[in-house]
Structure formats: structure tokens, C-alpha cells
């Protein structure tokens, strides 16, 4: 496992190098905090960003993309063009989300060419957290401030320098290509990285996540959904900010026989999501729709993929306009589950 140290004074050079022949995407300061943005000026990259306003899933699963264009009844013959990208400064929770998304987009051997091509062309340089964000609970859902899942390189911010650890072959190649800027990490630095991660972990407030899947299944008929459904406004903020939500819509856009078929983010919270052409809707009320989002993540995904589709980034908590708090919902589910 290649571990190197980069003096922070050389960060700009590293970013420039990473961005050569590739699109560089990293957090920058925004009026609401921080956001992932395509970088043209490396000096704007912000290492302190904990939870960016939206997750970086856009890099592999954009808000919308053209599946193909067409003219009349002919589909465009062109091959999919995806730019090589390096995502820098991704927090471990968000990187872990990529690993979860991989499972959906390759599920049952059916590969999603759009997602996979983006994923294949995206290098992920993660940055371990030294302090938690506003509503973080990664350790309660199987993650940690220094989780290695889903990233090619994991960095540790050690005040004056960055320790960079290669996690994949691609990551190692990347670090080797920057070897003129780095030195081999010392034992002391490795230890400091470990300590920083351990310290960050202690700062997190644990959330009780329901473990008993059978009990969780029972909760389908729980009264609490009614109250939560009343509060839920039915917008898409939680799903769109979520690094693991991946539901989408496919629509056609056309003019004079020329057009495109696009896919775009969608969410089970929208009242029309499951509406049939006949007018029948299996989820007519908001409580059913809110429950679907929670149970899909914490029950159905666990049954299908062995893991909850939540990385504990807390974005849904921080950005919900209705003040719904997933952590509190989980705690309530966990306590009901214990009772039953």
C-alpha cells in the first residue's frame, strides 16, 4: 500500500497535475457553505469542506443526461462520450456511496453503461474527516471518518501536509505520477493519520439504527408513518441531496422529429412517482411515500445488497425544508423494533 506525504505548499501543483488532461472536480466555497465544482483555478479548492451542499454523486449519476439522441425513428449511432474526471476532496461517506451505487448499476449482471462508464472514468481522491459535519452519523451505518470504500486514494489532512494512501491500482498510478511532489510517508505521519481519524470518530454522536430486519418489516404498519407523512412536504430535497438515492425518470424531448431521450433524477417522495396510466396509484398518501424512502434504504436494500443505502452524511437532515430528521426516525424505529 503506497502512502506518500504532500506538503500543503505543493497542493496547487498536485491539483494542477491531477487536472492535466482530466476534468478536476473539488469542493469550493459557496454562499451556502461548500459545493463540488469543476475547477479551473486550483487555489479555490477548499480542503475544509465537510459536507458539501449536494453530494458528489452528480459526477457518476448526473441530475440528467442524454441516453441517446434520435431523428425520426432512428437512434443516433454515436458512442457514449465521457470525460476523464478526478474527484478530489470527497469525504469517505460520499466515496462509500459510490461503492453502494455500483451494486445497483450492476445488479443481477445487468450493467448500466452510462453509470459504469462515468464510474470507470472517474478517479476518486477521498479526504478523511477530522471533525464531523452538522448532522453526521457515518459510524452508525457502517462507515467511518476514514472509510476506504469507493475511493482510489484516501487523504488525511495533517495540518501542514496531506498523507495520501493509494487504495486501488488506479490510485497508485495516480500517486506515482505525482511522485516528484511527494515523499514517502513516515511512520510518524502514518500514526498521526490514524490518530486524527480516531479522534474524529469520537466526536460523532451515535444513532441507533434498527438492526432487526423482521421487526423493521413489521414497522410497515406503524402509526409513526402517519405523523411523518403529515410533516413531509413531498419534495425531492432529501433524495436529490442524498449520495445513494438513485431513482430516475426517463423522458423524451423532441422538436420537429429530432430529439433526445434523457434520464433525470426522480424520487419516491413525489406523488406522481408511482401513478399508473390508468389513474391507479399504489402509494396515494405521503406517509406511504415517506415510508418507502426509509424502508427502501434500511430494509429493502439490506435484503437485496446486504447493506443499508445510507452513509450517514446527514444532508437529508440538514436540508429538509420540513425539518424531518432521519436520525430521529431511525431511533424511533429502533426502539419500536425492540418492543416488538
Amino acid at each position: 500500500m503506497l502512502e506518500v506525504t504532500l506538503d500543503k505548499s505543493r497542493l496547487q501543483e498536485l491539483l494542477k497535475l491531477l487536472g492535466t488532461d482530466r476534468r478536476l472536480v473539488a469542493p469550493v466555497v459557496d454562499r451556502l457553505g461548500t459545493v463540488f465544482s469543476e475547477i479551473t483555478d486550483p487555489s479555490l479548492v477548499c480542503l475544509e469542506a465537510v459536507n458539501t451542499n449536494l453530494s458528489p454523486k452528480e459526477a457518476v449519476f448526473p441530475q440528467w443526461e442524454t441516453l441517446y439522441t434520435f431523428e425520426g425513428d432512428q437512434v443516433d449511432k454515436a458512442e457514449l462520450q465521457i470525460e476523464e474526471t478526478v474527484l478530489f476532496g470527497v469525504r469517505p461517506c460520499d466515496a462509500r456511496a459510490f461503492e453502494l451505487l455500483d451494486r445497483v448499476f450492476t445488479w443481477d449482471g445487468v450493467n448500466d453503461p452510462y453509470y459504469l462508464k462515468r464510474r470507470e472514468r472517474t478517479l476518486v481522491v477521498a479526504l478523511a474527516c477530522n471533525a464531523p459535519g452538522e448532522a453526521c452519523f457515518c459510524t452508525s451505518v457502517g462507515g467511518s471518518p476514514a472509510s476506504e470504500f469507493g475511493a482510489d486514494v484516501l487523504g488525511f489532512d495533517l495540518e501542514d501536509c496531506l498523507l495520501l494512501r493509494a487504495l486501488t491500482d488506479r490510485g497508485e498510478t495516480l500517486l506515482n505520477s505525482a511522485s516528484s511532489l511527494t515523499t514517502a510517508a513516515t511512520e510518524e505521519e502514518k500514526k498521526a493519520a490514524q490518530n486524527a481519524a480516531a479522534k474524529a470518530e469520537k466526536l460523532l454522536t451515535p444513532v441507533a439504527v434498527p438492526e432487526d430486519l423482521a421487526a423493521l418489516k413489521e414497522s410497515f404498519d406503524a402509526e409513526m408513518w402517519k405523523e411523518l407523512g403529515l410533516k413531509c412536504l413531498g419534495c425531492g430535497v432529501c433524495a436529490y441531496a442524498c449520495p445513494t438515492c438513485h431513482c430516475f425518470d426517463i423522458t423524451d424531448e423532441t422538436r420537429k422529429g429530432v430529439g433526445r431521450r434523457v434520464r433525470s433524477w426522480d424520487t419516491c417522495a413525489f406523488s406522481l412517482f408511482t401513478l399508473h396510466g390508468s389513474g391507479h396509484n399504489p402509494r396515494t398518501t405521503q406517509d406511504a411515500r415517506y415510508r418507502q424512502r426509509v424502508l427502501h434504504k434500511f430494509l429493502y436494500c439490506r435484503e437485496n445488497f446486504g447493506e443499508a443505502f445510507c452513509v450517514g452524511c446527514g444532508r437529508c437532515v440538514a436540508s429538509c425544508p420540513a425539518g424531518l430528521d432521519l436520525r430521529a426516525v431511525l431511533e424511533r424505529l429502533a426502539s419500536t423494533a425492540k418492543v416488538t
Binding site: 410533516k231 412536504l233 430535497v237 433525470s264 420540513a322
Partner: protein, 331 residues
């Protein structure tokens, strides 16, 4: 405001005990600082959950129509509940609008009016904190003490982080109520309620366009603005219609403009500038620039503000023979 909170709790307790209401809609604390959540109380002993402070920005009127809809599975006779609600000036105006548009029944509603000195815009607090999250917050007189997730402490002027709608608000007490808890001390600011719009109007057309492009290119089409808005109760929004299909569902800028222009136009003569759309927007888009512009035009051209009374007709539901038509093209 804690005095008001106490009075509110007592009042709600009384309403339940006297069986004036079956359900009360108020604000309760949410999981993160400076955020509250709508709560739905059904008994007097739940009144203790209620809070009243500068983070009760939610326009509760948005939650009311659903409460008066016959539930899907209800059999036989069904009577709408008697619902109590706490209302700031803006909430009460939205309630007036919803009553006029027959979305909620006045006779099943008990409105507790409260005075409001403005609500905190969490986006502004987030901006003031910069790269760190908000761990704790405390209002201390005219200032807000915040502690970041990395431990940094900051003090910001409360006025600096108030929502733009609140800065320019001139209806700080309820316009419709059954009980009014507002204090006489509630001050109306001296600024014009259209100062922000007037400033924007003074820019060149290209500057305005470029600014709106930069704002609206932040839109992710999550529809939080729509869902948080009391006026957006359409069963099927024009943005979701497929026949005709008005616009695409992506963040293509043309479609984003069409959506927000369409939404603003649907609010014409109805928007009460409560700021719910701005507060709900996860991207902090200044949607008020569009809505408040229409409010300004409505007042200037037709001499009315939206939903101030049950009696006055809404601006687009009436006309005068002598309405302005100077904008029309003549040969």
C-alpha cells in the same frame, strides 16, 4: 419570544380542553439548530411540544389543505376536523388566500395570531459559518451566537441573518385570527417592501439576465419551492403534466426558467412573500426576486396586495375598465 411561547401553550391547552379544536398545527424543535418542524397535536398534553422563536420560518398554511381532505379509506359520513393553527402575519395571509380559494373552510379553523419580528434564514447562517456546519446557535438580544462543528464561535447581528422577506415585511401580525397573541411592541420596518426588487430593476437587462442565469443554474428541480408554498396545492402541477408537456424535467436552463417563470406567474396576485420557497430551496436560490417583482407590479398596477382580507377580490380575478394598457402595441 419565550413569553409568547408560554401564552401559546396555555392557549392551545385551553382550546383542547374546551374542545374547540381536534387538532393543532404548530412548530416544534427539529434535530438541527435554527430549524423547526410543523407538528400536529391532538391533545392538550402535547402542547408542551410547541415552540415559538425566530426559527419558525415554515409557513404552516401549506399543511392545512390536506387536513380537510376526506381520507382515502374513510367510509360513510366524514366530518372535517376542527383545526387550530398558529399564524404569523404571512401565514395568516396565506390562510386568507386558501379560504378564498376554497381549499380550507373558515368555520373549521381556529387561528391564533402571533406577532413576528422576522425569521432567521438558515442559508445566511450557513454562509456566515463558511466551510463548517452549524453545531449550536443561541439568540441573544439582537445578535445570534453560533458555534461551528469545528468549535469556532461567531457572533452575527440578527438583522444580518433575517430572511429577505422578513427584512421587508410590513405585515407582522396576523390579518385574520380568532385570538391574537401579538405584542404591541412588534415593529414594522421602514424599508420599502420592494426595495430589493427596485434595486434589481435598476440593473441593465443583460445584467439581470446573467444574474438570473447564475441563480437558476443552481436549481436541481427538487420542487421544494413548490411543495413548501401554501399556494401550490394543484393536484397536478403544470411542470408534471405530460399532455400537454409544458417543459422538460431536467436542469436544462431553458426548462428551469420556464418552470420558475411559470410558477411565479401562477402566484400572481396570490403570493404573500412569506419566503417559504426561498427557505425551502436547498440551493438557496433567490426565488423572491421573481415573486416579489410580480407583487410589486400587482400593487402598482392594480392597487392591491395579495390576501390581506377575505372580502377583497384577488388581483387576477377581477378587472377595471380603466386598467393600464400602455404596454400594448399600437400601429
Amino acid at each position: 419570544m419565550s413569553q409568547v411561547e408560554e401564552t401559546l401553550k396555555k392557549e392551545v391547552t385551553k382550546l383542547f380542553e374546551e374542545e374547540t379544536i381536534d387538532l393543532f398545527v404548530g412548530h416544534e424543535a427539529a434535530g438541527v439548530p435554527l430549524k423547526t418542524s410543523a407538528c400536529f397535536l391532538s391533545s392538550a398534553d402535547e402542547a408542551k411540544r410547541l415552540v415559538w422563536n425566530a426559527s419558525c420560518a415554515t409557513n404552516l398554511a401549506a399543511y392545512l389543505p390536506q387536513l380537510f381532505k376526506r381520507p382515502g379509506g374513510a367510509k360513510g359520513e366524514w366530518t372535517a376536523p376542527k383545526v387550530g393553527v398558529v399564524a404569523k402575519g404571512c401565514d395568516s395571509r396565506s390562510i386568507v388566500g386558501l379560504i378564498k380559494e376554497k381549499q380550507i373552510p373558515r368555520d373549521r379553523l381556529f387561528v391564533i395570531g402571533v406577532g413576528c419580528e422576522g425569521m432567521i434564514d438558515r442559508h445566511k447562517v450557513a454562509g456566515a459559518l463558511g466551510t463548517v456546519g452549524l453545531a449550536k446557535a443561541k439568540i441573544d438580544g439582537g445578535s445570534l451566537q453560533v458555534i461551528g462543528t469545528d468549535g469556532t464561535q461567531k457572533s452575527v447581528e440578527l438583522a444580518e441573518v433575517l430572511a429577505d422577506s422578513c427584512r421587508e415585511c410590513q405585515h407582522r401580525t396576523a390579518v385574520l385570527f380568532d385570538v391574537d397573541l401579538s405584542e404591541t411592541s412588534v415593529q414594522v420596518p421602514e424599508t420599502s417592501r420592494y426595495a430589493d426588487v427596485a434595486e434589481f430593476e435598476s440593473k441593465s437587462p443583460d445584467e439581470r439576465w446573467e444574474f438570473l442565469v447564475s441563480e437558476l443554474s443552481r436549481c436541481i428541480r427538487c420542487y421544494a419551492c413548490r411543495e413548501a408554498c401554501p399556494n401550490c396545492y394543484c393536484q397536478e402541477c403544470f411542470a408534471d403534466e405530460t399532455a400537454p408537456k409544458w417543459l422538460g424535467v431536467t436542469t436544462d436552463l431553458s426548462d428551469v426558467f420556464a418552470f420558475h417563470l411559470g410558477r411565479a406567474l401562477h402566484q400572481a396576485g396570490r403570493c404573500v412573500d412569506c419566503g417559504a420557497c426561498v427557505a425551502a430551496c436547498p440551493q438557496g436560490i433567490d426565488l423572491r426576486l421573481l415573486n416579489q417583482k410580480i407583487n410589486k407590479d400587482v400593487e402598482e398596477l392594480f392597487g392591491v396586495q395579495s390576501s390581506l382580507s377575505l372580502e377583497e377580490a384577488e388581483a387576477l380575478l377581477c378587472f377595471r375598465m380603466e386598467d393600464d394598457q400602455s404596454f400594448m402595441t399600437e400601429p
